[in-house]
């Protein structure tokens, strides 16, 4: 088995060959200026959104994707929920000595394919190889630039939120978190569950062309929907009420949550966003989202309310209520 060794990262010929034969061949989009120290790009006038994100995941290949696909989707989604049109990405690879070359090839191929489908370009990259034991296989660090509208900042800060606004979820929650957990911990749960890892910018970007009054967007990654909503109301003069019966959760995710004592609201997603929209247009937004394959399970799950400021309160299936608060650390499978 061919593997990566320290010389691949030492800056010599092996490094050049790896860059030329793998990274440039797969990711450069025919850009001739590939070996310089910077990418030279034409900047649009006005605002840009600029994001950075590191990808550390075990296992590197999981049902529904890989760290390569995740790196592109995660970065694109951070731009998309900032109301920006993703344009350019950069990628740095930190690779552990002894990493199988074939795995690296597959990961880079996933990145290339995902970026191509998403119409974003990877314009710069870097490779480092560290000694065995100094990293867990492979880490990818990404940055991304998107073209943002003038009011993107206000929206990102949630300045327009007010009681009555509806909370929309773009689809089922917990798919990614549960698929990864099952794969990583080898829980042995037989399941065809796939990570929801997907680029949302085309679906979310389309909202801009309508006067929907979308006041806020956030992708519900680590910490899940609970974290997004908790952050949204923290220290604010309003609260959020959500309805358990309206929250879309796949049957297998629900069953696995029951078994392990998990709450799907806290599970990570990589292809789902929380939207806050004007009450009058909520139905229209849901209908719009449902036209897209990635939004086919979109629905309204709650609203912003004046009562219980700073808190997220959920109406439970049986009509009870509970507070949905910020997670402290990861959820752990438990017996009681």
């Amino acid at each position: 088995m061919e593997t990566i060794h320290l010389h691949h990262g030492s800056g010599g010929k092996l490094t050049r060959d790896l860059i030329r034969d793998l990274f440039v061949a797969q990711l450069s989009n025919g850009n001739a200026y590939c070996y310089g120290d910077s990418a030279i790009i034409d900047m649009p006038a006005g605002k840009i959104a600029y994001t950075t994100d590191a990808f550390v995941i075990s296992p590197l290949f999981f049902p529904g994707g890989s760290i390569g696909k995740l790196a592109i989707c995660g970065t694109v989604n951070d731009l998309a929920v900032s109301d920006a049109l993703p344009v350019l990405l950069t990628a740095s690879f930190i690779i552990e000595e002894g990493f199988p070359l074939n795995d690296l090839k597959n990961i880079v191929a996933d990145m290339a394919e995902t970026a191509r489908l998403a119409d974003v370009k990877i314009v710069a990259g870097d490779t480092k190889v560290v000694q065995k034991g100094q990293c867990d296989g492979l880490y990818i660090s990404m940055s991304g630039i998107g073209i943002a509208p003038q009011d993107a900042e206000d929206k990102a800060l949630g300045l327009w939120l007010e009681p009555g606004n509806k909370i929309i979820l773009t689809g089922t929650i917990g798919d990614h978190g549960m698929a990864i957990l099952n794969a990583r911990e080898a829980l042995g749960l037989q399941s065809e569950l796939l990570s929801d890892c997907a680029c949302l910018h085309k679906m979310l970007g389309g909202l801009r062309h309508w006067d929907f009054g979308v006041h806020f967007m956030r992708d519900a990654t680590r910490g899940g929907v609970a974290m997004v909503l908790s952050e949204l109301v923290e220290g604010k003069p309003y609260g959020i009420k959500i309805y358990e019966k309206d929250i879309p959760v796949r049957a297998e995710v629900n069953s696995m949550c029951d078994l392990l004592g998990f709450d799907p609201l806290y599970l990570a997603n990589e292809g789902k966003a929380v939207l806050v929209v004007r009450q009058e247009s909520a139905e229209a937004v849901v209908n719009y989202l449902r036209e897209d394959e990635l939004g086919k399970n979109a629905c309204i799950i709650g609203e912003i309310q004046e009562e219980f400021p700073g808190m997220v309160v959920m109406d439970t299936l049986i009509g009870g209520h509970r507070v949905v608060d910020m997670p402290v650390g990861d959820q752990l499978p438990r017996i009681c």
Binding site: N254, G310, T316, I318, G319, R322, V323, D325, L332, I335
Partner: protein, 378 residues
């Protein structure tokens, strides 16, 4: 969700049961749900804030995390820090504090701590890592003890010599007896569901006959719990005390006799310490001498650790419903979900943990009561 499960989570059925419960309450009642799984379901579905004010639910000692003694954690943490050791633990234990920190903290210092959801997974890790010693911290009640026993039987059968069990199993009827005979007034027990699958419902007979306390064994779905409450209330109104089995789809009068046999072929009863409740005679399960080879206590050298347990912690009184978290000097200051001092702050459903979340999320108002929680219904 399966159709059957939908029925057990049906809102209309819940409403109807709640109406019947309202009608049935004639006086203030203190009802203890013994099992941590019940506590969890009660909070998950918000059952506590749907009940009439006169019903006070007390979370009992049935959360393995809450009753695991500090001394046990100290032994476990010392073993975890020894060379070539892998701790293969249930997730529940990861954040339980001992004097030496917790499993997450020793993992950060280099200990090899891995999650498992079954003792057989731990045994598998031992077979996969012949150069390492794999230690399974065995906590829980009659529900988990037979599983541990099976793992030990398999270890003997396959002659695995790098698998060890650090046993801290507890048995429930003895703890319920201690509670029933103590000074707290309990008007009814929601009997444990999973434990009773193993023990059967007959073992609780003494609680009704000797102490006059109604017992209803309950399932874990919201409709199960509401039905069980209603059954207890009916007994209370009629001044009856019998053991009833609401969870008869899983629990039989004599329980799972095969599992009991397996459990007692590996373990024998012993006196045991419960965090918060003290020593309870015959409430523990220790590994029989014939399985001593796999007993972590016999294999690993550890030493007693000077206690830095904060004497002001009142978890014990909270566990028995004698005090509430607002009366603890540590609550919300030194003891928080991020840095728990007492076990009741560790688990999400621990009484202190639930209180904390209400206090700090309702603008610092520290008068969190069931009534205030109920206000959220408005």
């Amino acid at each position: 969700m399966t159709k059957e499960l939908q029925t057990y989570r049906n809102a209309d059925l819940a409403k109807s049961l709640l109406r019947q419960i309202e009608k049935e309450v004639s006086r203030p009642l203190r009802i203890m749900e013994v099992c941590g799984g019940h506590t969890m379901a009660i909070h998950k579905y918000g059952i506590n804030n749907l009940l009439p004010d006169d019903i006070q639910l007390i979370s009992g000692p049935g959360c393995p995390v809450c009753v695991t003694p500090v001394a046990y954690m100290d032994i476990l943490l010392q073993i975890a820090m020894q060379p070539d050791v892998i701790i293969a633990s249930y997730g529940d234990l990861m954040r339980v504090p001992g004097n030496l920190g917790n499993l997450e903290a020793v993992r950060a210092k280099g200990a090899d701590v891995r999650l498992v959801i079954s003792p057989l997974d731990a045994l598998k890790k031992a077979k996969e890592n012949p150069g390492k010693k794999v230690v399974f911290p065995a906590i829980g009640f009659e529900t988990t003890a037979p599983g541990t026993a099976v793992a030990l039987l398999k270890a003997r059968e396959m002659d695995v010599d790098n698998f060890f069990v650090l046993a801290s199993h507890r048995t429930m009827p003895e703890a319920m007896q201690k509670l029933a005979s103590g000074k707290i007034n309990i008007d009814g027990f929601i009997g444990p569901g999973h434990v009773s699958c193993i023990t059967g419902s007959d073992v609780y007979g003494f609680l009704a006959s000797k102490y006059g306390i109604p017992v209803v064994i309950s399932g874990f779905e919201p409709i199960d719990l509401l039905m069980s409450l209603l059954m207890i209330l009916k007994q209370a109104r009629l001044s009856k005390a019998v053991v009833e089995n609401q969870y008869d789809r899983a629990v039989k009068p004599a329980g799972n006799v095969q599992a009991q046999k397996i459990m007692y072929s590996v373990f024998e009863s012993c006196d045991a310490e419960w965090r918060g409740l003290g020593k309870i005679n015959g409430s523990g399960l220790e590994i029989r001498e014939s399985f001593g080879k796999w007993n972590a206590l016999q294999h690993f050298k550890t030493s007693p650790v000077a206690s830095n347990e904060d004497k002001r912690c009142i978890c014990g009184k909270i566990l028995t419903g004698l005090k509430d978290p607002g009366q603890c000097p540590l609550f919300g200051a030194q003891c928080t979900p991020e840095q728990p001092v007492g076990a009741c702050m560790v688990s999400h459903e621990g009484t202190c943990n639930a209180w904390y979340r209400f206090k700090f999320m309702s603008n610092g108002n520290n008068t969190s009561t069931s009534r205030q929680r109920r206000k959220i219904n408005a």
